[in-house]
Amino acid sequence: MLEARQLTKEYQSGDHRLSVLRDVSFTVPDGAFVAIVGPSGSGKTTLLGLLAGLDVATRGTVLLDGADLSRLSEDKRAQLRGAKVGFVFQSFQLIPTLTALENVQVPLELRGEDGAPARARELLTRVGLGDRAHHFPNQLSGGEQQRVAIARAFSNSPRLLFADEPTGNLDSDTGAHIVELLEQLNREAGTTIVLVTHDLALAHRAQRIIRLADGVVVSDAVVEAVAPATVEV
């Protein structure tokens, strides 16, 4: 489903060349649930951006469902995202001027699909917000906003879902419900999930953990093989 090959990302900072990612390579099969962990500044958000086609690597390639992202234009990458990728962000990233229902409809409308409102309503009901469809984001709690974001992320039946600290702005109970929801939708839809997080407990909900430090992969292991107490962050 997702393959990173010797991904490198560098930035020019004044006279210096800053290397944020160096030669990162791994493969994520269909239906997998992978967590990417690392301390602040380890490059995990940069890696997420490259994997999702939001950014372009300095060197290396990303193959997303067989498509080489480095060969695609910005608009083509956008269309690929619209067709195959879902996102869940730490700060929810709902469009403030649209209702919950309208937010969930956006990916469907961008693809020109008919029946967007009905599908959106169904998804909102599935995440338990069927009665809040016409509320605006500022009228919803953090947990409710994140559930709307999840419904939106699944509206285009994505092959791949990227979640960037999905519970970062939520209390632990709410966060736990959100993760359960993600896992449930992953099981039912068979969506591949790539989760970026600081939270080791959350990371251990995944099947595999890729650890980053200083822009390189320091470990890549199946979850049962890694004891939480021995992982350094």
């Binding site: 958000t45 997420l48 951006g49 999702a52 939001l54 950014d55 910005e74 608009d75 956008a78 269309q79 690929l80 995202r81 619209g82 067709a83 996102f87 962000f89 990233q93 709902l94 469009i95 403030p96 001027t97 649209l98 309208e102 956006v106 990916p107 409308e109 961008l110 693809r111 020109g112 967007a116 939106r152 285009n156 960037d164």
Partner: protein
Amino acid sequence: MRFSQLLALAWRESRTARRRLLLYMSSISLGVGALVAIDSFASNTQRSVREQARALLGGDIALNSRTEYTKPVLAVLDSLRKEGAGVSDVTTFASMALVQRTGLTRLAQIQAVQPGYPFYGEIITKPAGEWAHLHEGRSALVDPSLLIALDAHVGDTLALGFARFIIAGTLVSVPGDVGVSTTIGPRVYIPEKYLDETSLLLFGSRSDHKTLIKLTPSLTAAKFIFRFKNTLEKAQVRYRTAAETEFNLTQAIDQLRDFLSVIGLVALLLGGIGVASGVNAFVMRKIDTVAILRCLGATSKQVLTIYLLQAVAMGFIGAAFGALLGIGLQLGLPHVLAEFLPVDVTVTIEPAALLTGLGVGVWVSFVFALMPLISLRNISPLQTLRRESDSAALRGANFDPIRVLVGVTIALSIAALGIARAETVVQGIGFAGAIAAAVGLLYGAAWLLSSSARRIVRPSWPFVLRQGVASLYRPGNQTRAVVLALGFGVFLMSTVYQVQDNLLRTVSVKLDASKANVLFFDVQDDQGAPLDSLIRAAGYTITQRTPMVPMKITAINSVVGEQLLKADSTKNGERRERWVLRREFRSTYRDSLMPSEKLTKGKFHTGGTPASQLPEVSLDGDVAKGLRVSLGDTITWDVQGVKVPSVVTSFREVNWTRFEPNFFVVFETRALVKAPKQYVILADVRGDGAVARLQRDVVTKFPNVSSLDLTLIQQTIGRVLDKVTAAIRFMAGLSLALGIPVLFSAVSATRRERLREGVLLKVLGATKRQVGRVMLAEYLLLGSLGSLAGVVLSVGGAWGLMRFVFKQPFVPALLPATLVALLMIFVAVSIGMLTGREVFRETPMAALREA
């Protein structure tokens, strides 16, 4: 994504931004309103002119002459009468009108008309229907202003020279007459058959002869001209058809429309700048939303389309509102300009003007909104993960061909608008160039302010001042837009007031300089001395007694008659100007220069040349140019049938604006001292009611002598100028109104930043007063710079107008310029404090959440 879905998303997404976008788009409403009003008014007036063209002229053809008709012309008129054409004469001249009951007298415009006048159009009187009875007896119909001036009423006896008339009524409307002209010379209509009885038209009296002709079905205007053109032109009789009247008037209206349109266009372009400024701030607010949309799969084209649709929709609403405003203004314009229009204007809605204004408004808002909107293409979806500063998020490639294309489109749009409104392409390009220069200068001033602000600020300055100055160069500041909006408004208003001030000064200075306040003219040769005695006996001073001799040119050097008009008759091969050869000159004789004259070439005659030599003559410089004469040339004059040769020995520059007798031609005394002449006498008459008493005494003893109260003339001219400036002040007020929505747009665009900054200051311990002072410092500086730049530009603009259009000296009028600048500073500060009032209202926590 289907277009309908894009439209739906654009509509939904605009929910919280509509009011703000509408505010930005309202910047163009005034410009659209001005254009719609001006175009509609011009169309209405032109239609009224077309419908009333024959009534404006009063006939199918009108003949005009300053002299009595020659025999050939009289023969033409006789033949027309025999062919069944209507022929009616009007003799117009100035003379004193005296009401015997009150003893008051006033210079009036006497029109002695024959029956049948006018053939078209209706002269409405009060009481109604009196015009039809004018020729039945010794009746006179007068302008209402004359009754007021003479403290008279209908039924009083009016003395005109030696004839007496009963005032039968007042004039309510006369087709073709411009209302403001009656302010200077109120009209009196009398039957022509009593003209000789008045004995007012004596030697040298100026009168205008007009003949209205109503053609027959078989004699068209074209045939009339074909048959009689040569005869009339030989006799120096001007002729005009109703079609020509219509053409001339519609042309004049076109010119007025083009002139007024300049203000409207400037308003529109200023509005465009307001739109660009506001949309720029709008774009910054949408960075996060656009990043999300890009993440979800929206292409850059889809994103741009969504926000363009919003901008165009709001632009359409703004333009539509402007069009409605224009209709309202259109209703008012005829009243504002009524005194200057020769027709009654019927106001109707003009669809073409409405659609043009709407289209232009939508286009202007579209192209000016496009410039900031195209930055949306540069927003990366990565902003959802890692948010950069607004300017970094919007930054694109160093060279963006789309941005260049949009810039070129804007420039071409401005040029096209200018060309569409101007008389010629060159003028239109000149207009666009002038706008570009003014915008460039103001932008330069703003750039100078923001770049020097950083350097000039000192640590020793108070914190509030330093913080206010810092606001001028902070990222995303609106310094340029605010200075441009302010500067333009000040430029327009200040230019208008400076020109008005200079024009009025010209009038008052000239009157003071002459030291006389009454002028007597049409004084016959034998009346000069007795009138002189009468004035002195009353205890008043005579400041000037100037002889005036009417004459015409018959030869220059040895060239006579029609040969004078040929190019090869002059030394440099240039044709002489026709008017100079055909006019009757009223010349004088003296042996010294007057204070209103300046010698420019040669030597002014001082008298004493021997009788064997040709008498010397001094010419006005422009007349000499028109005659193509040089020093040493001879000119032969026809003075009442006597040929008087002369030699040109000097040229003068005459200040014609001084209220004194000034002359194109001044002879050496010996040349004309024995010629038949009239006099012009200037007297200094002081005391309450003294002028009116003297005028009454003079007109009683010398009915043909006319007089002008120069103080009254100055007041009258002042009133006329007031009427003119009322219309101009309307436009100046519009200029002020132009700046306000644009200023609002530019200032409110930084509202969020100001709110954030103010809240942070409060969190850090600043009081409301300190925060207020910071804002005050920022807007005082912005207002001052914008106003200063505008005033400096206006001095240049006013100088140009006075020098090249009015051909008068220019003195910067500091008082009106300062007042306008202070007003605009007040407006800027008020708007700034008004839009930032949330800083004072909300608690830091509430504001932090919103920011």
